[in-house]
């Protein structure tokens, strides 16, 4: 479960950070002059990466997670292991 959460917030966070650098200062008049895209993007990115880190650790690394996502040979219970 931490994989999709981590993945989504990392991607959205990264996009906001990049946008925060590229966008013109004028749009931040609304947000009291603070470049909220940059700062909140960093918060989201950090949250996403922490979630991803937990997920990788809990599932025994990327390779174990990838194996669990591959189709199982018939006869075996294809349920993924307990949610991480």
């Amino acid at each position: 479960m931490r994989f999709p959460i981590g993945g989504m917030f990392s991607i959205i966070g990264a996009i906001l950070v990049v946008y925060g650098f590229l966008s013109s200062r004028a749009i931040y008049d609304k947000s009291l002059g603070i470049n909220v895209n940059l700062w909140w993007g960093l918060v989201l990115l950090a949250f996403g990466l922490v979630m991803l880190g937990y997920a990788v650790r809990a599932s025994g690394g990327w390779s174990a997670w990838r194996r669990s996502m591959l189709p199982q040979p018939p006869g075996q219970d294809p349920r993924p292991p307990a949610v991480s």
Binding site: M8, I12, S23, I27, S31, R79
Partner: protein
């Protein structure tokens, strides 16, 4: 009204969210092999996931839009829904009721009623519940579409179809598991999407002290003491001293007891999440884990409403004026989004709004399809079919539930505050239900006839009370008083709803008690084992370290919510 213009980045964030939501459904499609997988996630969900889904399923339209609207309308008193209402009820369901729900292996709340009482009590509950979920989900959809039409200029029909189709796909593919996983994702999105809004708003008005000063103007303009919007208890001595029009007794008993216990302890929409948990301990911890973020939720959903009305009073025209001359409270959150968030975060905020509507709708649809399949179809229409047959019925019920919600969405247009309408429906159906469960779970003498006719009496009491009273300033009709004579006028709709729930509860409690005393028991002690408190062995938790026991968490929650009540007294 000026529409908010969205940039490419805002659409990009919305689309990324859609991709992940649908991706979760797609990834889980192989997990669904039996009806138990589809309706109960194969009873395998860890406690923290079930807990976050428990709160997220409740975090739909009524929560985000309704609570912000109430925050603007009634101020910090709205927090009573949390610190007086939800907290004790969530603790009670986790500690005392989960052992029977989970331990009986019932697959739904109506099925528990069948095990404890009889088929007719189950049918009554299943049918009213099914109707209610369709309505709730329809209201959720209506609110979303109306809002997006007003604020973004999106087509009303387009928003309804878009949200309905996405929810349909992910539930159809992954059943309850998919709904639960998405609810967790949606929970984080809602928190992280609205938090910058609250922080910016608070910074702008000069923190809590600045907000208090602004809300003092709001309160005095409305003819109350300056602190009426920022004190939750101080002005509860008389209905005329606070904007909610409540005095403390009606609030504690009506909202804190009848309505909240009715909702959190008997509503299958939330209870289903705990039933899907992987073990008895996980099931008991589900509502308790959910209570922790729930306790802090007022900051996220009530505060924006208070900020919006504060800014409305001091800067003028912050909230658009509705046709009744009052500010349109339901627009508090969208107006705050548009005011403070630049392109980028605006997309995130709108995605959070979208996520909250979807989680509420998905919660309703998954609860609906289980009750329909197990308690109505399997029991009354086609019993004794194969499991694969019921799984297909579940899929069909998902489609049907969503289509019915869309129809309900088109019919929900009457109330200016969605919350009042939802509370009204809940108070008719849920208010009495908790009395039935309380007696059923803790008094073995409660009979099936007592439960059934008690429940009917409770619902009729609610309808009678509602039909004979009126909120201040309303004309008889859908808002009350439809039975001709008006015996009492309440200061507000909210007060009327709380009292209706309390009457319903009392009516059901007294009738169930009396009828049980005069009718024969239909179930022996043996049949009630695991269903009634005095006939169920206590759960042994001695082997667990004290900090892991559900009761420790429960005590901590009650202590912290008491402290919160005192802080905002």
């Amino acid at each position: 009204m000026q529409h908010i213009a969205l940039g490419g980045i805002d659409y990009a964030i919305l689309i990324i969210y859609f991709v992940f939501v649908l991706g979760i459904g797609w990834a889980l499609r192989r997990v669904i092999r039996s009806s138990e997988d589809f309706f109960l996630s194969g009873r395998s969900i860890p406690a923290w996931i079930a807990g976050l889904a428990f709160i997220s399923a409740n975090l739909g339209a009524q929560e985000v839009i309704g609570m912000a609207a109430s925050g603007a309308k009634y101020g910090i008193m709205t927090s009573h829904f949390y610190w007086v209402g939800a907290m004790p009820a969530m603790v009670f369901v986790g500690l005392f009721m989960m052992p029977f729900y989970y331990g009986s292996r019932a697959r739904s709340v109506p099925e528990y009623l069948k095990l404890r009482f009889d088929e007719k009590t189950r049918a009554l509950n299943a049918i009213t519940f099914a109707i209610m979920t369709v309505f709730s989900s329809g209201i959720s959809m209506y609110a979303l579409a109306k809002l997006f039409e007003l604020v973004l200029g999106w087509s009303f029909h387009g928003s309804i179809v878009l949200s309905a189709v996405i929810v349909l796909i992910y539930i159809f593919l992954g059943g309850l598991t998919s709904a639960i996983y998405n609810e967790v994702l949606q929970f984080f999105l809602i928190v992280l999407g609205f938090l910058p809004l609250v922080l910016l708003g608070l910074k702008d008005v000069g923190g809590w002290n600045g907000l208090t000063a602004k809300l003092a103007t709001v309160a005095t303009n409305a003819g109350f003491e300056p602190g009426a919007w920022t004190h939750s208890w101080k002005y509860m001595d008389s209905p005329s001293h606070n904007p909610m029009g409540m005095e403390w007794f009606g609030l504690v008993m009506g909202l804190g007891f009848a309505l909240s216990f009715g909702y959190w302890c008997t509503d299958f929409l939330v209870v289903q999440r705990a039933m899907a948990a992987g073990s008895m301990t996980a099931a008991r911890r589900t509502p308790l884990i959910a209570a922790v973020p729930k306790m802090l939720m007022p900051m996220l959903v009530i505060l924006p409403g208070m900020l919006a009305i504060g800014l409305h009073a001091s800067r003028g025209g912050f909230l658009p004026i509705g046709s009744d001359g009052q500010p349109n409270y339901n627009l508090a959150i969208p107006m705050m989004l548009a005011h403070y968030l630049p392109s980028g975060l605006l997309g995130l905020g709108l995605t959070a709004l979208m996520a909250s509507f979807m989680s509420g709708m998905a919660g309703n649809v998954t609860a609906f399809n289980s009750v329909w399949t197990y308690d109505i179809y399997q029991t009354h229409i086609r019993p004794g079919q194969t499991d694969a047959h019921y799984l297909r019925v579940g899929h069909a019920a998902t489609v049907f539930g969503i289509v019915a919600s869309v129809l309900a969405a088109y019919s929900a247009t009457r109330f200016n505050n969605i919350l009042d309408m939802l509370q009204l429906v809940f108070s008719f159906v849920n208010g009495p239900l908790f009395a039935t469960f309380l007696l059923g779970m803790f008094w073995r003498r409660t009979t099936s006839h007592g439960a059934f006719y008690g429940l009917l009496t409770g619902t009729i009491t609610a309808a009678l009370h509602y039909g004979l009273t009126l909120p201040h300033g309303a004309v008889p009709g859908i808002k009350g008083g439809f039975l001709g004579a008006v015996l009492h006028v309440y200061p507000s709709e909210m007060a009327l709803n709380f009292w209706t729930a309390l009457f319903a509860w009392t009516g059901c409690f007294v009738a169930t008690l009396l009828i049980s005393l005069f009718t024969k028991r239909t179930k022996t002690d043996d049949e009630l084992r695991g269903l009634v408190y005095s006939l169920t062995p206590r759960i042994q938790e001695g082997h667990m370290p004290w900090y892991k026991r559900p009761v420790t968490l429960a005590v901590a929650i009650l202590v912290v919510s008491t402290i919160l009540n005192v802080i905002f007294w």
